[in-house]
């Protein structure tokens, strides 16, 4: 039943394979296709991870703005802070606005100035964190205009940071797709060489098939069947290894790195969890590689037969 199904799928005639299994450099080709599938799976998985993380970062950053109040001579910081918070809260689309306390502001400066310093004597800028209910509906221009009434106040929408983030993520995605394309080209070239080798090795079989009235289409189907089987096996192995790679790297990142680093890496790559879309992409590697193998071998065989006749 499975043999018949595979025969139908590969357009190969049912029954014993006319192209002997050992006559195609099967093991070498299987290893090569497995490696190519693994590289494709890892590249695709990496692209998905970066893309998903970039979207998540961008969404998080886009939902938050910061109002900075710099100390200005003659101005009362606390009063300005309250006014700015009120203005922010009154702005349409803003969910919440909260001024960071002196302690929180000092904590932000600790990485640069060190811990345990008394900063009460220094006038440091104060920050107000503004949470947006919906970044699209928020009237940021109105808030910007209103804040002009407060001396030393400025609004940071993180637009530049988001722009850089999107550019970086886009570059990684395009590079990944380029690498995928190159892997595809290398796979096609390897299959062409393997097919031509198989044709040369099986020249006698091809001649006999011609003499008994086989069409080029029939002969190509027989070779395609052999290569599709190798492509399916290689694709499956590569995709399995790729999935295993992400499971291992996720586990290793959680157990080898210190907790702080794990948090940072997790923030960057989402704990290497591929999710449903990433898994689907990796599973798709199997039919794509198998189809690429079968189509390339079929075209190569038909071209070879046309040249020979």
């Amino acid at each position: 039943m499975i043999r018949q199904l595979l025969a139908r799928l590969t357009r190969r005639s049912a029954g014993a394979p006319i192209v002997p299994r050992h006559s195609v450099a099967g093991r070498t080709l299987l290893m090569l296709i497995t490696i190519m599938s693994f590289l494709s799976a890892v590249t695709l998985g990496g692209v998905v991870l970066v893309q998903k993380s970039a979207i998540a970062w961008s969404a998080d950053v886009g939902r938050e703005m910061t109002i900075q109040i710099r100390p200005v001579e003659g101005e009362v910081m606390d009063s300005n802070l309250r006014t700015a918070v009120s203005l922010a809260q009154a702005t349409p689309g803003v969910a919440a606005a909260r001024a960071l306390s002196i302690e929180e502001s000092q904590a932000l400066l600790e990485p640069w100035l060190g811990a345990g310093l008394d900063l009460s004597a220094i006038a440091i800028p104060r920050l107000i964190v503004v949470q947006l209910a919906d970044p699209v509906d928020a009237d940021i221009d109105q808030l910007q205009r209103n804040l002009q009434a407060i001396k030393g106040a400025s609004l940071d929408t993180h637009a530049a940071w988001r722009q850089q983030l999107n550019t970086m993520a886009g570059t990684v995605v395009v590079s990944g797709l380029l690498v995928l394309g190159l892997i595809g080209v290398a796979t096609v070239l390897a299959i062409i060489f393997a097919t031509r080798g198989a044709m040369a090795t099986n020249r006698e079989i091809v001649d006999v098939l011609h003499f008994i009235g086989a069409s080029n289409k029939f002969i190509a189907g027989e070779f395609q069947g052999r290569f599709l089987t190798i492509g399916l096996q290689g694709g499956l192995l590569g995709a399995l290894l790729g999935t295993l790679f992400f499971v291992l790297i996720g586990t290793a990142a959680g157990s080898v790195l210190p907790t702080e680093a794990t948090t940072q890496v997790g923030f960057l790559f989402g704990n290497f969890v591929l999710g449903l879309d990433g898994t689907i992409f990796i599973i798709l590697v199997i039919p794509v590689i198998a189809a690429l193998t079968a189509i390339t071998s079929r075209m190569t065989v038909r071209r070879y037969l046309s040249e020979a006749s």
Partner: protein, 220 residues
């Protein structure tokens, strides 16, 4: 059935291997094709098998001008021609049954349909007990009978044999020619059997096509 008119054949820019071949073969006839080594027997058989195109002249087979046929029509016509080689050319990784069934697989017949016919033919050529054996364990005579069975399983109208007795002893040679004669008589196949074994020719009274230095004469 087969008609050659002023046919010539050369390979590339070389001299003519076959010159001015003009003859016709009637349906259901049996001819020996003979001549010394290098006289062009195999080239003539390749022309008859449509594996080569003549350099000049006209070849008509089964009432069709071969020169005017496209690739698909040539393929269809080739399916009416069976061929037996001196070196058997069986596929060593397939059993005797699978080798003989190959032309029917090529035609797209399912195994359930061709199995009884192949089994019956193998019994007829005396290979019923050996149908699951690989060619590597068959004797020369068994291999040649398997090759003949493969050539006739799809009931071709024309059967060509290129030195089919070249690799077997004289006793077996004679039995193989009897097998061809039986196929000619019972199935009405047109048979052209190439051989250079004169004692074999003398044992049978079929017409002889004699090739010498690329020219052909027919002795009835």
């Amino acid at each position: 059935m087969i008609e050659f008119s002023d046919v010539g054949l050369r390979y590339g820019n070389g001299p003519e291997i076959l010159s001015d071949l003009t003859f016709s073969i009637e349906p259901g006839s049996f001819h020996f094709l003979t001549g010394p080594s290098g006289s062009g027997k195999t080239s003539l058989l390749r022309l008859l098998l449509l594996a080569l195109k003549p350099s000049r002249g006209k070849v008509t087979m089964l009432n069709e001008d071969v020169g005017s046929l496209d690739r698909d029509s040539l393929l269809q016509m080739r399916r009416h021609i069976g061929i037996v080689f001196q070196e058997f050319r069986l596929l060593d990784h397939l059993t005797t049954f699978e080798n003989v069934a190959l032309p029917l697989r090529v035609l797209g017949q399912p195994e359930s349909e061709y199995r009884p016919n192949v089994t019956e033919l193998l019994e007829w050529v005396g290979l019923g007990e050996r149908m699951h054996a690989l060619p590597t364990v068959l004797s020369g005579g068994e291999k040649q009978r398997a090759a003949i069975a493969r050539a006739v399983i799809a009931r071709p109208k024309i059967l060509l044999a290129d030195e089919p007795t070249g690799n077997v002893d004289p006793e077996l040679s004679s039995r193989l020619v009897h097998l061809f004669a039986e196929l000619n008589r019972t199935l009405g196949m047109t048979i052209i059997l190439a051989t250079h074994e004169l004692p074999l020719l003398d044992r049978f009274s079929y017409p002889r096509m004699v090739l010498n230095k690329g020219t052909l004469t027919i002795h009835d």
